[in-house]
């Protein structure tokens, strides 16, 4: 009970917004700040602790950790945004089509979605990345496809709920075609019901991409990326723990803040 109560800070709306605001500002403004270049190596200062010139110290190549940290969310966020957009487009299309068509189309699409949900995401991603390379476009599409399944499932049930609403029945009685009812009555309302699901999937995609980077198949060196930073530095963890802790804190705070915000809505 005590442990649960101590998590109360997660319900603090102001704190959540402050954390999210901080992350957005950092991600947007990092290139414009007066920071050392993320790939400039200083062979005279390897694996140093925090100092005035390097606020969080340096890594094994003598690169500034603070600068890499602030830049490190950008690749993940770009991929996560584009992959979520793809997942949404595919998921909502499949889900609403299944609900609208019904019958065998619904059955077939639902089985496909079940199958996709049953596949082990990370292993499949590893396969795709090793076959098709680490191109951001390929990764976005792969992640988008993979995370479309849960969105499709929610979209299907949201559409079904909406189709039974009286204003949709009235639209049918007034001669609305299936397409105009779908775009005019159903989809705009589906979006409102799906906000939570989409935001959650966004955080999963963020984590999945960082995991891929950690495994060496996401972002490629020397790109600053949190998962990759953890992977590169884990051997030197004892010398400068900040090398591993800082990117983890950044990733965890972003994911937690988004999920806490979704809980609030």
């Amino acid at each position: 009970m005590k442990a649960l109560q101590s998590l109360n800070f997660l319900k603090d709306r102001v704190l959540i917004l402050v954390v999210l605001g901080f992350h957005s500002l950092v991600a947007l403004l990092a290139p414009y700040l007066q920071l050392p270049a993320t790939d400039s190596q200083d062979s005279a200062a390897l694996l140093q602790g925090p100092s005035r010139s390097h606020w969080l110290g340096t890594d094994f190549l003598g690169r500034d950790v603070f600068s890499r940290l602030l830049h490190g969310g950008r690749p993940s966020l770009v991929i996560a945004f584009s992959a979520t957009a793809i997942a949404c487009a595919i998921g909502v299309f499949i889900g609403s089509l299944a609900a609208l068509a019904g019958g065998w189309i619904d059955d077939a699409l639902s089985r496909v979605v079940d199958l996709m949900l049953a596949l082990p995401t990370l292993i499949l991603l590893l396969l795709i990345a090793s076959f098709f390379g680490q191109d951001p476009l390929v990764l976005s599409v792969a992640l988008g496809l993979m995370y479309a399944a849960p969105i499709a499932r929610v979209a299907r049930s949201a559409t079904q709920t909406l189709l039974a609403r009286d204003f949709v029945r009235v639209a049918r009685l007034q001669g609305g075609s299936r397409i105009s009812i779908l775009f005019g009555e159903v989809l705009p309302n589906v979006w409102r019901l799906m906000f939570t699901e989409v935001a959650m999937q966004f955080t999963w995609i963020l984590l999945a991409f960082s995991s891929l980077s950690f495994l060496g198949l996401g972002a490629s060196p020397p790109t600053p990326e949190w998962g990759l930073m953890v992977a590169e530095s884990r051997s030197y963890m004892t010398l400068n723990p900040l090398l591993v802790l800082a990117p983890i804190v950044m990733l965890a705070s972003l994911v937690l803040a988004i999920q806490a915000l979704v809980d609030h809505e």
């Binding site: 009685l173 299936r178 705009p188």
Partner: protein, 521 residues
């Protein structure tokens, strides 16, 4: 032996100048409850009636010594035999009331735990040992005699039986005060009336005090000698039920009493009958789900400009019939045609535009009949392609001004939304308008106003209507012809005068009797 302190005091429960506000709201906004003064004697019954948002449920909870989260007591106090209820501990309250105050909440579907048998529920209430005799006795008292009910689960009980189980749970600890929140609003009229009779019998036998809250003046007046009429957080009138109903003093009470539908008072004049048939059903059967017969072999004809009323309890097939007429539900067998001989057993998508336009339907739930994302103008014109002038005049005919064109559903009251839905249906110039319980979600005063509007529209446009309702008073005051459905079959069919004055079916007789009882108090 000392005298029970409870019995030596004259007033059992006293509300003294109680004002309740929403927490953190400035003091110039209207409070939830304002200056409530109220006394309840031992064993007395008080009915509280008011529209939604009038504060009646807050009042009821206060009587149990509770205040909903987010509300604060601004001034005044609630005392029972000299003890301030709001600061009393649970134990003190229990000792005052002798067993807890029993509150029977509105949503009977959610008030029982699905995985517990009836007996299991008593195990929660009578803590520790289940005194079988006591349980059986209270079940018998609410009309569920015999041991067979002990081992049933909530889903094996009908709505009326569930409400009786809740009553039995409430009285098993012999409370001195029973609080009822809309005890019958989820039940069919005839079953609700039986439950009310049971409550009256219980109170005579056990002598507890009773506060019953309802939006339905009929329900409240059936069981209470004294009623309080609430409006906007204030008690606007308080007095003997018969006096309040016969000669209401406050403006709001007058409106309320005047709005009660009466089966012997028409709100619409009858029209000359035409012979032109616009809907003919022969041996029509409708199946819901796999096998359940919603409508069984029904014969029906509606002529131009005629108003037909269909009455029946839930599950009688009345909504299925309307849905089938407009093509939302498939027909299993039999024939159904419109006046031009068009086969109406086709689904709505397959019907030509002019056939679709000729039959329109308005649904029960005002919150559901307009797309929440659209303005009224968008909702009205999207499929009808009506111009602004057409929409304005349609809105005007249902009593809404032009300014509603730019409103969204969340900015409108239930009555306004329902009027907009009716206006939308009128825009296709239908010959037949199907109305499915269109007023049942509305407060009595709003309901009466919407019915008057419908009567005007009917008179002006000479549209045929089929009105479905569970309330025989609404039907009898509005329609030309009544059809009573029971389990998918017609048990009574005739003109209003015939059905009301000489009903043949037992169910119809009962409905008329209840309606007469309520309007004659």
């Amino acid at each position: 032996m000392t005298l029970d302190p409870v019995l030596t005091q004259s007033h059992f429960l006293v509300f003294n100048n109680v004002t309740v506000r929403i927490r953190n709201e400035p003091s110039d906004t209207r409070p939830v409850l304002e200056a409530i003064d109220l006394q309840l004697e031992h064993g007395e019954t008080l009915g509280v009636v008011g529209s939604s948002g009038s504060g009646k449920s807050t009042l009821l909870r206060l009587a149990a010594g509770e205040l909903a989260p987010g509300l604060v007591l601004d001034q005044g106090g609630v005392t029972t035999v000299g003890t301030n209820l709001l600061v009393a501990t649970q134990a003190e309250r229990t000792s005052i009331y002798g067993g807890e105050v029993a509150l029977v909440a509105q949503s009977i579907g959610e008030s029982l735990t699905p995985h517990l048998t009836v007996k299991g529920h008593f195990r929660d209430t009578v803590s520790g040992e289940v005194v079988d005799d006591q349980v059986l006795e209270s079940l018998a008292e609410v009309g569920l005699g015999g041991k067979k009910y002990l081992h049933r689960y909530p889903h094996q009980l009908s709505g009326g039986e569930r409400q009786r189980v809740l009553l039995a749970l409430a009285i098993v600890r012999s409370p001195r005060l029973l609080l009822l929140d809309e005890p019958t609003s989820a039940l069919d009229v005839s079953i609700g009336s039986e439950v009310l009779t049971t409550i009256q019998r219980l109170q005579r036998a056990r002598g507890f005090a009773l506060i019953c809250v309802s939006h339905d003046l009929g329900v409240v007046s059936q069981i209470s000698k004294r009623i309080a009429v609430m409006n906007q957080g204030r008690i606007v009138e308080l007095g003997q039920t018969s006096r309040v109903l016969r000669s209401p003093a406050h403006q709001y009470t007058k409106a309320l009493v005047g709005s009660i539908p009466r089966h012997d008072q028409r709100v619409r004049g009858s029209r000359l009958q035409s012979n032109e048939k616009i809907l003919v059903c022969r041996e029509l059967s409708i199946v819901r789900g796999e096998t359940t017969r919603a409508i069984d072999s029904l014969d029906l004809a509606v002529t131009r400009g005629e108003v037909l009323g269909i009455i029946g309890e839930s599950g009688s097939g009345k909504s299925s019939l309307l849905s089938a007429i407009c093509g939302l539900v498939p027909v299993r067998s039999g024939t159904i045609h419109d006046g031009d001989g068009y086969d109406l057993s086709t689904a709505s998508q397959a019907r030509p535009r002019e056939v679709l336009a000729s039959i329109q339907m308005v649904f029960q739930n005002p919150d559901d009949s307009l797309n929440p994302m659209r303005t009224v103008a968008e909702s009205l014109s999207r499929y009808t392609r009506a111009t602004n002038t057409e929409m304005s005049s349609a809105l005007l005919s249902v009593g809404l001004g032009e300014q509603f064109l730019s409103r969204r559903p969340r900015e409108m009251s239930g009555g306004e939304k329902q009027r907009a839905a009716i206006a939308r249906a009128l825009l296709t110039k239908p010959r037949l308008l199907l109305l499915d319980e269109v007023t049942s979600a509305l407060d009595v005063i709003v309901q009466a106003a919407v019915l008057r509007t419908l009567a005007e529209i009917q008179h002006k446009l000479n549209i045929a209507m089929i009105i479905v309702s569970h309330d025989i008073a609404i039907i009898a005051s509005f329609v030309d012809r009544i059809l009573v459905l029971r389990n998918g079959q017609v048990v009574e069919h005739g003109s209003v005068a015939d059905v009301i004055n000489s009903p043949r079916d037992d169910y119809t007789k009962k409905l008329i009797q209840i309606s007469a009882q309520r309007s004659s108090v």
